[in-house]
Chain length 520, copies 2
């Protein structure tokens, strides 16, 4: 374990007429001794506080050293060894931030929390916020406000986390940030203009670490801020985190990593090579897009079943509370169930005459819809429906997903059967049933053992950066090693996409385990 | 020549769908190529401006790289090669600042200027300002004001210098500062409290380089600020500059360096060893202390002679203007002349009955005085006198100086005759006649060939730092190599001091070239 910030116990001889070197020089000298001759640097802003703390401590105690790639930096001095030396890991999500505090002395995660991204007010999705960044709001510009808002959210998280373990936010001496490229640009107040315009170029992929005060972060002012590098506009540090957390870059056997949000990002590889792509998977799997859709949160229908014989519908919500909507995993379960009960056909179109649909199908202005929770059952809350429009969106998403997976594996001459594991990241990985996704033809028809949910690997990667020097080196190796394939400009992709817009697929042989109702 | 900031011509392939790395990462990559694989770092504050300048320049042009000890830092990007790449060298004196602009492309000094240190308002000497630093002035504290004032003086100098060569202050990409330890503390806003209290410990001797904006300096914001390291409270970076400028640390033969202000600082050594000491030389040689004394400035009597036979007095002023006062070199000439004309005795006391003094000696409340410029000659301006009190002060100063020189050479077992050169720094070195100083017994009785004036070696050292990487390494070697002897705690010194309070010395054999009038 090599934490990004470490304590080194040092003891200097006190100054005397015979030894009248400066306080800071004295500290640097003894610290260089315990750092095996590496001379630590002291940033200008830290000269006075570090020298003063050293003197106040009687010229002995604990040097607080941040390990930058360019060398060690002395950032503070403690008279006594603290119980915790705390780093904050941050998953900088578009809708939510998740963070944890890690004890850098032993690598243990102390506490975790989540917070809504305060930028939501300025745009629900990335493109809306990029647009907002370029606008003026009063005498402020949008980019300033976006940065200000996300920093407020980070401060809220830091306050909540530190409150739980009874420390001050100024005790946080390191921050590692993992997020998509756009969110990182907003945090660093970098112009996002070219991120969404061909050829989609970030201002910076791998910013050098810096001090928290430079960003206006209210942590320890010299807290080292370490930002997970990105590969490009559509392949951010959150994905690099996923690679590190899954260990994809260290596996002997070829594996795949899937992360699904508005975009689907996919990495295939092993210790020798890594290939990645990102493609628009469609919004159907994200909360707030299907009319009744929502994030995987309290009250969301997370899983549901339809008995293929009787058509009996049953569901569970997250937290067991009354249903408020349906999240991505619920939609996948539902549409798979509708197909197996033949309530929809292979194109995903409603068959309202199907007996199993009895009492569940209603007709609206824009087509049929399936009633999950009726107005009566909802007791005054909104009923929960899934409309033909929602299913059409899912069909496009699942087709895009399968096409992406086929394209990238083809690109490297790997077949799905060669994949030792498929890691599924994020909320999507945590909640979906791979079996139902296979029925839909969204994921390849492989043994369920192959599929591994990763949880919040963006946060896990950020945590690794705080405590593991080899992981910090690995992430730069990964960035250097990875080959990025731009899917949007790939002709093959559109052909594959067309073939995937059926349940499970036009080529039924690809999904031997799934009943085929093409004759209907 | 290895300037501290250099230009590197680079050309990157423009971004494309097939090569979508970030702007800054692209620039860092091509720059690492011309830096022989060293990866340049970009400070947080420079991400946006450097990336933007690179893009605006069409991804080709000149990378501006500051060479820190910890590695190269990319600080800016120019589309075209500028005529000058400008560094500012600064001698941070207690009363005056002197500065020059150096073209870092070829090492040439472009222009020089001087400016009064704006801190004078808060105290004429170092101790007064250290006291002021700890006081409150309204709702400001003294240290803040001292820093603010010296920064204003630096800004004035920068404005004046850049005006002369028609560039902007923001074109200054490097600043090297050479000054005494206290002035450096004020500039960096470091607490000077312990500098003047036993055991006289600085907050910092060798601050790591930093960016101009961190200090609030209105130069290029990422201008690298390089501060000449000091050895202790009484041996500052200005002296290290003197060692570098004289080349004392590279000489085969043993040499000596003398710098005289309120303190006399002396270094003896060669390429193998260096020993240094500083001692109170008394204020007689500094401007403004002898009642008629002044700095070596326009109107100061710089040199004068008294014919030993006739007593005829003649003088020259700096600038040839009417005499306003007398500077240190003039005082030395005068007192030597008074001795040779026997107008004073070996103790430095006036002999008013001496014929050569006729018409020149007046009696005042506190004793006799010699009239250099009478009220009549002064045409309404103040007459210029040198009183017994002034001469007594000079006698103490010259005794201190000679005792310091004897003590330090004794310490290392070197006799004056072994000294290949004696470098005399600063205004003192520039203006004094070594011969007259020898007559007084202030400097050893050696061939005049041995004495070498150094000029403003503090500024010269600062200039070297800007353009010579080996000199930047040398200065750290010097700091590591030098042995500092604290004179104030040396018993021997007081014995020597007593013997030196006569002209030229109680031991006349030490000054064979000087007439001895001990029998008078």
């Amino acid at each position: 374990m090599q934490s990004i910030v470490k304590l080194y116990q040092v003891k200097a001889r006190p100054p005397s007429l015979a030894d009248n070197t400066g306080d800071l020089d004295r500290l640097k000298k003894v610290t260089a001794g315990v750092l095996e001759g590496q001379n630590p640097v002291v940033a200008f802003s830290r000269i006075a506080p570090v020298a003063e703390a050293f003197r106040q401590s009687g010229f002995q105690g604990f040097a607080v050293v941040a390990h930058y790639a360019s060398g060690p930096q002395l950032i503070d001095f403690y008279a006594k060894k603290p119980e915790f030396l705390v780093g904050m890991a941050l998953d900088l999500g578009t809708t939510h931030l998740e963070a944890s505090l890690v004890n850098l002395l032993n690598g243990k995660v102390l506490v975790r929390a989540a917070e809504v991204n305060g930028q939501l007010e300025f745009g629900a999705d990335i493109l809306a916020r990029i647009h907002f960044a370029a606008t003026k709001a009063g005498n402020r510009n949008g980019l300033d406000l976006l940065q200000e808002r996300v920093i407020e959210s980070i401060h809220k998280l830091a306050a909540e986390l530190t409150r739980q373990i009874k420390i001050r936010t100024s005790d946080i001496v390191a921050l590692s940030v993992s997020g998509n490229t756009t969110m990182v640009h907003f945090l660093l107040k970098q112009n996002p203009y070219h991120l969404c315009r061909e050829p989609y170029i970030p201002v910076v992929n791998a910013p050098d670490p810096f001090q928290a005060y430079e960003l206006g972060l209210d942590l320890h002012p010299a807290s080292i801020v370490w930002v997970m590098p990105s590969i490009g506009s559509y392949f951010g540090g959150d994905l690099i985190s996923g690679i590190l957390a899954s260990g994809l870059d260290q596996q002997d056997k070829t594996c795949m990593l899937i992360d699904v949000g508005t975009n689907a990002e996919v990495v295939v590889g092993n210790r020798d090579w890594l290939i990645a792509c990102a493609g628009a998977a469609g919004p159907a799997l994200e909360g707030g897009v299907a009319r009744m859709g929502m994030r995987a949160d309290i009250g969301a229908i997370e899983h549901c079943t339809i008995d293929p014989e009787s058509g009996k519908f049953e569901y569970q919500t997250i937290g067991g509370t009354p249903a408020r909507g349906i999240c991505g995993s619920g939609v996948i379960d539902l549409v798979a169930g509708l197909y197996l009960a033949r309530i929809i056909d292979i194109r995903g179109k409603f068959r309202p005459q199907q007996p199993q649909a009895k009492g569940r199908i209603i007709e609206q202005k824009d087509g049929f819809a399936y009633v999950l929770v009726s107005a009566e059952e909802a007791h005054g809350a909104n009923p929960v429906l899934l409309s033909q429009v929602d299913i059409d969106a899912l069909m496009r998403s699942k087709a895009a997903m399968y096409s992406i997976l086929t394209t990238i594996t083809n690109q490297v001459g790997v077949s799905f059967k060669d994949l030792h594991h498929i890691y599924v990241a994020g909320a999507f990985g945590k909640h979906i049933s791979p079996r139902q996704a296979i029925v839909l033809g969204m994921l390849p028809d492989l043994s369920l053992e192959v599929y591994r949910p990763l949880g919040n690997s963006s946060l896990a990667g950020a945590e690794m950066m705080l405590i593991d020097a080899s992981a910090r080196e690995r992430c730069l190796e990964v960035v250097g090693k990875i080959t990025y394939v731009e899917l949007n400009v790939n002709q093959e992709f559109m052909i594959r996409f067309s073939g995937s817009r059926f349940i499970p697929h036009t080529d039924h042989a690809l999904f031997p385990s799934v009943p085929f109702y093409g004759e209907s």
